[in-house]
Assembly symmetry: C2
Homo-oligomer: 121 residues x 2
């Protein structure tokens, strides 16, 4: 699969894909005889995971750490698990914060709708 197809599939840019490769999040991607990237199914699975975690706000730094541990092999399994658990906690906290903000936003919109607005902002 070419970089263009992958970019389209995951709705990201070629630049981002090459950037992720450069910082070591994915790949190195196999290249054909003319030096053109050819993404494998394995690559796609990694990209999907990375994309998903990025969309949740997990930093490239943390993901890079996870990938590096993975590449170190079996012996890092527990450390990897702990890393993921930490990110789980952070993510749950973030979702909670955002849900609270959403509730306030909804309340504010309700005030606008019922014309009961006698507030500051």
């Amino acid at each position: 699969m070419t970089i263009k197809e992958v970019a389209e599939k995951f709705n990201m840019t070629n630049d981002t894909l090459r950037y992720y490769e450069k910082v070591g999040l994915i790949g190195p991607i196999k290249k054909n005889s003319s030096g053109i990237r050819d993404y494998s199914e394995e690559d796609l699975k990694r990209i999907e995971f990375i994309k998903c975690m990025r969309s949740a706000g997990i930093s490239i730094e943390v993901l890079k750490k996870y990938v590096d541990l993975y590449d170190e092999g079996e012996s890092t399994k527990l450390e990897r698990q702990h890393l993921l658990e930490e990110e789980q906690d952070k993510l749950e906290e973030k979702i909670k914060t955002m849900t609270e903000a959403l509730d306030k936003l909804k309340y504010k919109i309700e005030l606008y709708k019922t014309d009961k607005l006698d507030e500051y902002l």
Copy 2:
């Protein structure tokens, strides 16, 4: 209330408070005879709202637009409501995305825990 007290109350830095004022998100804050900021209750309410919305990821640009509309008066009420509704949609979408990522993360952690890991990353 001094800038230091406000910063402590909302767990942010003096710099951020001055930055928000500079870009027009809050204030201008009243100053005493020596040029020192003295935050009013009104100011605090605004800051709390801004802080809450920022923690949900609403951009400074959007918040600035909302504040500007507010300052234009009654005639912008509907536009303000629409702006908030748009942000509500975006926020709901973001929470959904993050919740999906969280589920994947939990699943992955479960695989680690049960030692059933035969995966890519």
